[in-house]
């Protein structure tokens, strides 16, 4: 069984600052990792994914994430945040090769900017 942990329930920074949202997972086999964003009152929107290859993956709107097998992590980063980035961010995992593409989500990190 795979599990996902997002240690920060809430992150707040100034516009233009950089940000890192943390995600750690637990699973013994091959795993597919992704990040989704949810703006208030909307469904989830896919940001980026990783399965193999270059551990740094680029997503939409300047987001990137880095996979670390040794740390069991897949942290999301952005160099300079904008007001429109305010949302809840979910890290998700899926166990590869099980025949099911179901996603297991973390509890989410609410990201907001200091006015």
């Amino acid at each position: 069984t795979q599990t996902v942990s997002q240690s920060d329930a809430h992150v707040t920074v100034f516009e233009g600052d950089s940000v890192e949202l943390r995600c750690n997972y637990s699973y013994g086999g091959s795993i597919y990792l992704s990040w989704y964003i949810q703006h208030h009152g909307h469904g989830l929107q896919f940001l980026l994914k990783y399965y193999s290859g270059n551990p740094v993956v680029q997503g939409v709107n300047g987001f990137e994430a880095e996979f670390s097998k040794s740390d069991s992590s897949f942290h999301l980063r952005k160099a300079s945040v904008h007001w429109s980035d305010s949302a809840v961010y979910f890290c998700a995992v899926s166990a590869a090769g099980t025949g099911s593409n179901r996603l297991t989500f973390g509890k989410g990190t609410k990201f907001s900017l200091i006015p």
């Binding site: 597919y32 992704s34 989704y36 009152g41 909307h42 469904g43 989830l44 929107q45 896919f46 994914k49 399965y51 979910f90 899926s94 025949g99 099911s100 593409n101 179901r102 996603l103 297991t104 989500f105 973390g106 509890k107 989410g108």
Partner: protein, 112 residues
Amino acid sequence: NAGVIQTPRHKVTGKGQEATLWCEPISGHSAVFWYRQTIVQGLEFLTYFRNQAPIDDSGMPKERFSAQMPNQSHSTLKIQSTQPQDSAVYLCASSLDTYEQYFGPGTRLTVL
């Protein structure tokens, strides 16, 4: 491309009534997923269809919940005898049967 369509967006039922939620996946997508979102439990997987066939329903409550996909253009989630603890946002997602899923706006179910 209209994206995943879910109807209704909001539904209020009385305790013990039935609720049927509808999902229209993105045209051409072969997989449909249902998730439930609450403040306390977060996002929970319910069930998953591939080419209209049920593949994984391990997240479905054993009683009162059922899901169907009678054709490639829609799926339904039915909750019989709704209870207050069923109150949640029910999210439908579709995909080309990959891990990249496209979510609808959700149906907010409130059971009084």
